[in-house]
């Protein structure tokens, strides 16, 4: 079986531009077009959050699609399920806006759409080849890879740094 791709954060590369947030909101709009999306009701919402560790250290936070996702088990309406490609997704039609998922998500990445009274969260852009946030990131701080490829890249980078250090 093909390994599932996930969204990984390379936080050292994040510039804090919030482009991922806009792209995410647009990708989850009806029109898929920023100019029209801004006027839609309910207002499209981003599911990625550029938070700050300190004023100068931004970091994008998004749903981890946890194994044994607490939100999925906590949901009292059966609105959260795991797709075949391992994304944990919220079915807006079934969501009743009780916010139990918000109460149990340890990452704080489930949003509450007050206008629509629906919880929303990253769905890894089920209808796109690559999640919109990843496409939008100008510095590639967000990558869409398999765990294997992501850790391979990390190792390669570490090795490069090591060899540069030795060459000095």
């Amino acid at each position: 079986m093909d390994q599932i791709k996930e969204i990984f954060v390379r936080k050292d590369l994040c510039m804090g531009c919030h482009s991922c947030e806009l792209a995410c909101a647009v990708a989850h709009s009806a029109s898929k077009n920023i100019y029209e999306a801004m006027g839609e009701h309910p207002m499209p919402k981003s599911r990625v959050y550029v938070e700050t560790v300190s004023a100068s250290v931004p970091v994008p936070i998004l749903c981890r699609h946890c194994e044994d996702a607490p939100c999925m088990h906590a949901c009292i309406a059966g609105a959260i399920h795991r797709t075949a490609d391992q994304a944990v997704v919220t079915d807006a039609d079934k969501c009743i806006g009780c916010w139990t998922c918000v109460m149990v998500c340890p990452y704080g990445v489930i949003g509450r759409h007050l206008e629509a009274r629906k919880a929303y969260r990253c769905d890894r852009c089920q209808d796109r080849d690559q999640p919109a946030c990843v496409s939008a990131c100008p510095t590639k701080a967000l990558v869409y890879q398999t765990v294997t490829d992501f850790s391979k890249d990390l190792r390669r980078k570490a090795a490069e740094e090591l060899s540069r250090g030795e060459g000095r």
Partner: protein, 416 residues
């Protein structure tokens, strides 16, 4: 190691089905039998107020194949009430006299509504202690022609029922014995905003009062007489006074009972091959270490998942739960309550904050090292993050200002 075991689960709600699914996932060859006393297929119990309001149909609230309840091959037996357990011969006996043998048993029999003995007439037609889909269907029907309902108790279940009834144009009076609504989930001062919102939404609330007698008329209930003698006409009564674990059928067994069935952190009872989870189980508060029983779907599902894994040979500790934990939205106000929310004048550091449409109460341990309780009303952003740091008992001194200022994000915990 657990291959070819026969698993029997008593109860087909959150804990029971979560466990069943976890067993099948861990041990695909396992034989899993789930016994349910109800005649309805498993359903999302917290959704039954929507049956009353008519916003959902019974099919909408069915569990099988929804959310995490996707496992196949589970032998589900409805209308099968367990009346006794024999821990020596590893079998349970059902009301119809059948015997069901097990290698491993999960007690997930849940809880039943508490009905105060000092109220007369609780058996009259039109009086509900809302628990099952069958009752909800009945209440839905009666509410279609009802004009006034009196709800006894100011807890969440009654609030949800109240809004369902308002949807059906039934006037609602909430009679609450405590000084304020939601007394289990918060202190009176914390509930001010919610009470205002409820009254604004059309709910009549009487606090410090209790019902004495429910009066029967030709079509069932016709009035409630309060403890001050006042007689209020009504055609429906809902009793929402909390729940008690369903342990009656265990009385003849040697299970350790302390309100509910006592389990260890691995959800195991005093018997090696018998587990318990959900409302019926006694678990522990991760902060205080005290034994707690709760009646919360979310806890039951989480604990059931642990129990299922443990039963199938994948040891998984349950992290415990707060005696108080709930989230919902009523009258347009979301709120969350968890942990030590009744600090009273006890030895805690308490921060309260009111801003615009939001209220927050943070309860820290006396030395300020741990967050132990939280009430959020109006804005519940990052509630799960606080639950996590409370449950894990994280030393929060480094991020305390951020918690108080409500600027904490998971970024601080992951990368800070």
């Amino acid at each position: 190691m657990a291959a070819n075991q026969t698993y029997v689960i008593i109860g087909a709600s959150a804990a029971g089905l979560s466990a069943a699914c976890a067993i099948v996932k861990t041990e695909p060859e396992a034989k899993v039998t789930v016994l349910s006393e109800e005649t309805d297929s498993p359903y999302f119990r917290p959704m039954i107020p929507f049956i009353i309001s008519g916003e959902k149909s019974p099919a909408d609230v069915a569990m099988t194949g929804q959310g995490p309840y996707q496992a196949k091959g589970i032998d589900l037996r409805l209308n099968t009430r367990v009346v006794s357990l024999d821990t020596h011969s590893n079998q349970v006996k059902t009301k119809s006299g059948d015997t069901v043998l097990f290698d491993r048993l999960l007690i997930a029999s849940g809880s039943s509504p508490y009905i105060p003995r000092d109220i007369e007439g609780t058996g009259i037609k039109g009086v509900y202690a809302l628990r099952t889909l069958a009752q909800a269907r009945d209440a839905a029907q009666r509410s279609s022609s009802a004009r006034h309902a009196i709800l006894l108790g100011g807890g969440l279940l009654n609030l949800k029922a109240a809004f369902a009834l308002l949807e059906k144009k039934v006037a609602v009076t909430l009679v609450v014995y405590s000084p304020e609504i939601l007394s289990q989930l918060m202190e009176p001062d914390d509930a001010v905003m919610i009470r205002q919102a409820l009254e604004h939404a059309g709910l009549k609330i009487m606090t410090g009062r209790s019902a004495k007698t429910i009066v029967q008329g030709p079509n069932g209930v016709k009035a409630v007489i309060l403890d001050n003698g006042v007689d209020i006409p009504c055609d429906m009564v809902f009793i929402g006074k909390g729940v008690r674990p369903c342990v009656d059928f265990l009385k003849s067994s040697d299970m350790e009972i302390d309100q509910g069935v006592v389990v260890d952190p691995y959800t195991r009872t005093s018997r090696e091959n018998i587990f318990a989870a959900g409302d019926v189980a006694v678990t522990f508060d991760p902060v205080t270490g005290n034994r707690v029983v709760t009646g919360l779907w979310t806890n039951a599902a989480e604990m059931g998942l642990c129990a299922g894994k443990n039963m199938a040979g994948d040891p998984t500790a349950y992290a415990g739960t707060f005696g108080v934990m709930n989230a919902t939205q009523v009258a347009g106000l979301p709120f969350v309550s968890m942990g030590q929310v009744h600090p009273g004048s006890g030895d805690y550091e308490v921060h309260r904050n009111v801003s615009g449409n939001a209220y927050r109460k943070l309860v820290f341990s006396k030395e300020g090292k741990h967050l132990v309780g939280l009430v959020m009303v109006g804005d519940i952003t990052h509630a799960g993050l606080y639950r996590y740091i409370m449950r894990e008992q994280r030393d929060i001194r480094r991020v305390k200002e951020k918690i108080i200022g409500q600027t904490l994000t998971s970024a601080h915990l992951m990368y800070g």
